[in-house]
């Protein structure tokens, strides 16, 4: 065995017993062994000493201080009961309540404390208080979603009579109790459901997230958490700080008296920039159609209306949605849970043209006065790109190209500008990136470019950008895909002469204790350096659309000057054939767009409307915009939905 080692100043064997170490001398294996043994003994003593400290601590706690802790634990057991803070209220800009709380009794089961199995307990309970099959289904779903729980509600919103009946029999039901709880309610129901969102019971994923955020202690005693929309994104402000009560409880765990109370700090209220009346009018204007509308105050970025049709009743989610309702919502062909304004992407169609025109002016690709005779088509690479008017629009300059929505003008412009210039310019308006609105889940859409295509496709044959693809990008078709929110955001930026604000739904955060309001300051995120004369060309043309162009019919007799642009997004490629609405099935029909702002000389509102499968923008989307603008600017309330099925049939040039 080789125990020979050299040692130096870092290792010192014990003096006296071993010769002092010297270099190049092999040491006695036994002394090595001895040094190691000594260290083993020291380690053992170290272990004994620290275990001794622990044992001393146990003696202190369990023998010397036992009486004190015995008293604390037995006679005077103090329980810390968390007190849930009341959740902040959500109000619209005029103070109309959109989400509030009310107190009600619930019947709750703690499965681990039940004396017999769950089914038998519910069976017995049913003899006293009716438990419907729906209650059971919902309870089962809640149990599946949460592994770690204290108690779960089997029945919510008990009547006074039911509370009294259970109280008289509660001794028969250990593990089941009546609790007073705060409930969330959304008085507007479906209206604005996609922006408000909803709260739901805290599930395992939420628990992990709370733990990660270090918020678990603050959520003791809280059952619900924001799941979607504003309820989710402003969870921190809405929730508040949990208080607690020190209560004395007897050996059975029942509270005897309260010793001390630390009040919870209620959550902050949110005051939205949304006008709920305007929201209501906008939602109604859609009739039975699906689609989205976003209206923004261009001078602040405050969102005035945020519609995704159809909506859903957020109240269904609060106590855990029952499986039947969930199935209905999930499987409906209209997809009511899909937030189209935030997450639906559509080619912008002709609403892209004013932005293209501005790009042409800014990049000196076209002068505003340049005119060409429109033949009704554009030849490129042996392929004919058609205009929708056979024979063309005659002599077309930039003004007319927007007013009559001339495709050939933009086919040719796109070809001149090239894809790189187009995507660089459109990127300025946040096309293809998030607008940064204050709710989660926003998608970026697609701003097409050769780089994008390279990333999007794996097959090298598909990665190449073809010049022909640029042509249809020019009229807002092809790979172009943007959300209605992005369209409204870009329109607002255009209306505000290039000064861009981040869109936001919440305007003020109101402290509920002292009533102070903190404004979410509108700060311009960027100012796009456009020439005013170029902007004026576009503004004039968009006013022309509404006065004498494709939007004229919808805006006949308007008492303010509006600027707008119609658009139609192809759902289905017709391979050069002539599109006919009656011959196309409803779900393959084109989407109708309209973007607008008003008053044109001093815009107070900018919006984008999308009607899914609505056909032409002029017929389906522009009338909705008209009703919204009429109400917002004049206070005029409409008598009937803006569009019906018959409107969608009539054909107008777009």
């Amino acid at each position: 065995m080789k125990y020979q080692r050299q040692r130096a100043m870092f290792s010192r064997p014990i003096k006296g017993r071993v010769r002092p170490p010297s270099t190049n001398e092999l040491k006695n294996p036994n002394s090595e062994r001895y040094a190691f043994q000594l260290r083993i003994v020291v380690a053992a003593l170290f272990v004994l000493a620290l275990f001794g400290v622990l044992f001393a601590r146990f003696i202190w706690l369990q023998a010397l201080q036992h009486d004190k802790y015995q008293t604390l634990a037995e006679a005077n057991r103090i329980s810390l009961v968390p007190i849930q803070p009341s959740r902040g209220i959500i109000k619209d800009r005029n103070g109309i309540v959109l989400a509030h709380n009310y107190s009600a009794y619930t019947l709750e089961i703690t499965p681990s404390k039940l004396p017999d199995n769950l089914e038998a307990s519910i069976q017995r309970l049913n003899q006293i208080i009716e438990i419907t099959p729906k209650d059971r289904r919902r309870f089962k779903k809640l149990m599946e979603e949460t592994k770690d729980f204290e108690s779960l509600p089997i029945k919510t919103r008990l009547t006074d009579e039911e509370v009294a009946r259970f109280a008289a029999n509660s001794y028969q039901f250990p593990g089941i109790e009546v609790k007073a709880r705060l409930f969330r309610q959304y008085p507007m129901g479906e209206i604005a459901s996609h922006l408000i969102g909803y709260i739901g019971r805290i599930n395992d994923q939420d628990l992990t997230d709370l733990e990660d955020a270090g918020q678990l202690a603050n959520y003791r005693g809280t059952d619900h958490i924001g799941k979607l929309g504003i309820e989710q994104s402003y969870e921190e402000q809405l929730h508040g700080t949990t208080g607690f009560e020190e209560v004395e409880i007897d050996s059975g765990g029942r509270a005897v008296r309260t010793l001390r109370r630390t009040q919870p700090a209620p959550g902050e209220n949110l005051i939205l920039s949304v006008d709920i009346k305007l929201q209501q009018i906008a939602e109604k204007a859609f009739g039975d159609n699906t689609g989205a509308l976003v209206a923004i105050d261009p001078k602040t970025g405050g969102v005035l209306s945020f519609v995704s049709k159809p909506g859903y009743d957020p109240n269904l989610f609060v106590d855990g949605i029952d499986p039947q309702n969930w199935k209905d919502l999930n499987e409906s062909p209209d997809k009511p849970l899909n937030n189209r304004a935030l997450r639906g992407t559509y080619p912008p169609g002709s609403t892209f043209k004013p932005f293209m025109a501005l790009g042409a002016l800014e990049g000196h690709f076209r002068a505003a006065g340049y005119a060409f005779p429109d033949p009704g088509f554009f030849w490129f690479g042996g392929h004919q790109f058609r205009d929708d008017k056979v024979g063309g629009h005659g002599m077309v300059d930039m003004y007319k190209s927007i007013v009559v929505s001339c495709d050939s003008y933009y086919y040719s412009l796109a070809n001149t500008m090239g894809i790189d210039n187009i995507s660089r310019f459109m990127g300025l308006f946040d096309f293809g990136s998030q607008t940064g609105i204050d709710i989660d889940g926003e998608v970026t859409g697609v701003l097409p470019s050769p780089e994008w295509k390279k990333k999007r496709f794996k097959n090298p044959a598909q990665q190449k950008w073809f010049a022909g693809e640029t042509i249809s990008i020019g009229i807002g078709q092809g790979y172009n895909a943007y959300t209605p929110l992005q369209m409204a955001h870009a329109t607002a930026t255009l209306a505000n002469n290039g000064v861009m604000f981040k869109p936001h739904l919440v305007q003020f955060i109101e402290n509920t204790t002292n009533g102070t309001k903190t404004a979410i300051e509108p700060k311009p995120t960027k100012t796009l350096p456009f020439k005013q004369e170029n902007l004026d060309v576009i503004h004039r043309a968009m006013v022309g659309v509404v006065k004498e162009g494709t939007g004229a019919r919808a805006f006949a007799g308007a008492q303010y000057e509006a600027a707008g642009k119609t658009g139609t997004a192809q759902v289905f490629s017709l391979k050069g054939g002539k599109y006919s609405e009656s011959g196309t099935k409803k779900r393959l029909r084109d989407h109708a767009w309209f973007i607008a702002y008003a008053p044109a000389n001093d815009p107070k509102i900018a919006l984008a409307v999308l009607v899914e499968n609505g056909g032409f923008g002029a017929a389906a989307a522009a009338p909705i915009a008209r009703q919204v603008l009429d109400y917002y600017l004049l206070g005029k309330e409409p008598k009937a939905p803006a569009i019906s099925a018959s409107d969608v049939e009539s054909v107008t040039d777009d």
């Binding site: 040692r7 190691f36 083993i40 380690a43 400290v53 003696i59 706690l61 202690a217």
Partner: protein, 372 residues
């Protein structure tokens, strides 16, 4: 035939170490049944973990020391590499304000877990490798090998794990013959550090705010009565109210009225102290002591320097976990996420402890083979 098989199975097992382990495990099963409110599923889970862990122990016990040594360098390099990768954006997972995990697609792993074994393995191998001509430069290099991963872990930040891994490496240095004077200096420095972190104004310059808050909470639990302070208050009450003989199995009021948080995992010792009292604590301490003494005995009689160092470090490491856990539950150490070895519910900890025991058995087995 069957006898042969039986001999093959028991051949690498150290009977004493295994016996003490089984005794602690038996105690933990009884305790878990009470702590989990008679949840038989958890007891079954725990038994399954034990089965897996014993299998791991047996497998490692069969590995020869030569092969263990071969593992040292790759395990250490891999561990450091993973710790570095944690800092690569997109790979590291941040949670609680700390970046400790690595996203490997299907799941996330914590590279510092690997370092718990890789660190002592590496250092033991290192000293063994240069055994013939050890001098102070080797201690310096070993210290560097220790500081590199510990620094990476502290940076995450994960003070608790960093200190535990640093201590496992330090134990190797200690057994390898680190000079007493230096050890004395380190104890002084450690004392100074402890003094610093106990004073908020000084601490805040040195550590993260949440770490200082933990120490402050330990010194005055009422500062955070719903969070970490609640754990300490209720744990102390549970242990104290247990008295000399405890309230009896299944009779702990603190436990069964839901006062003890995490009562099957990190705070299971509070349940034990409440239901089995000072007598129970004495028995558990004795069993732990027996395990540690057995480990140190194996270290003492090991045939190679590698075996001596590694066995000594594993024994002291086991001690450290037990001490830190019981210390935090009884309120003399700050709350860090350390399970009570062999007792807390949870598979990872069981497997890593019994892997360590497997190494002890492997070291012991080689010695027996040489005698024979």
């Amino acid at each position: 035939m069957i006898k042969q098989l039986w001999n093959r199975i028991k051949q690498p097992i150290d009977p004493w170490l295994f016996l003490f382990t089984l005794l602690v495990f038996g105690l933990s099963v009884v305790l878990l049944y009470s702590a989990s409110n008679r949840d038989i599923d958890k007891v079954m889970d725990k038994t399954t973990f034990m089965g897996v862990a014993v299998a791991a122990m047996w497998l490692i016990a069969n590995v020869s020391q030569q092969n263990l040594m071969r593992l040292a360098l790759p395990a250490y390099v891999l561990g450091v590499l993973l710790l570095v990768l944690v800092n690569v954006p997109g790979l590291g997972v941040t949670s609680h304000g700390a970046t400790r995990w690595l996203n490997v697609g299907i799941t996330r792993i914590q590279p510092s877990e690997l370092m718990r074994i890789a660190m002592p393995l590496m250092l033991a191998w290192y000293f063994h490798h240069f055994e013939a001509h050890l001098n102070w430069k080797h201690f310096l290099a070993a210290a560097a090998l220790l500081v590199l991963p510990v620094g990476l872990i502290l940076k995450q930040p994960d003070l608790g794990t960093g200190l535990l891994i640093a201590s496992s490496g330090f134990y190797i240095l200690f057994f390898a013959g680190l000079s007493w004077r230096l050890i004395g200096l380190m104890i002084l420095a450690g004392g100074g550090m402890a003094y610093t972190v106990m004073h908020w104004d000084l601490c805040i310059h040195l550590l993260h705010e949440y770490q200082c808050r933990r120490v402050a909470t330990m010194l005055d639990p009422m500062q955070d009565p719903l969070g970490a302070g609640y754990h300490i208050i209720q744990g102390t009450i549970a242990i104290g109210s247990g008295g000399l003989l405890g309230k009896g199995w299944l009779n702990g009021t603190q436990t069964h009225l839901d006062f003890i948080p995490e009562r099957t995992t990190d705070f299971i010792f509070a349940v034990f102290g409440e239901e089995f009292g000072l007598l129970g604590n004495a028995i558990l301490l004795t069993l732990y002591l027996l395990v540690i003494i057995r480990g140190l005995t194996i270290a003492n009689s090991a045939s190679t320097l590698f075996g001596r160092l590694l066995a000594g470090a594993i024994a002291l490491n086991f001690f450290t976990y037990a001490f830190v856990n019981m210390g935090m539950v009884s309120g003399i150490l700050p709350v860090v996420g350390v399970p009570l070895p062999l007792v807390s519910y949870g598979g990872t900890s069981m497997v890593s402890i019994l892997t360590g025991f497997g190494i002890l058995m492997s070291i012991n087995r080689d010695k027996k083979l040489m005698k024979a």
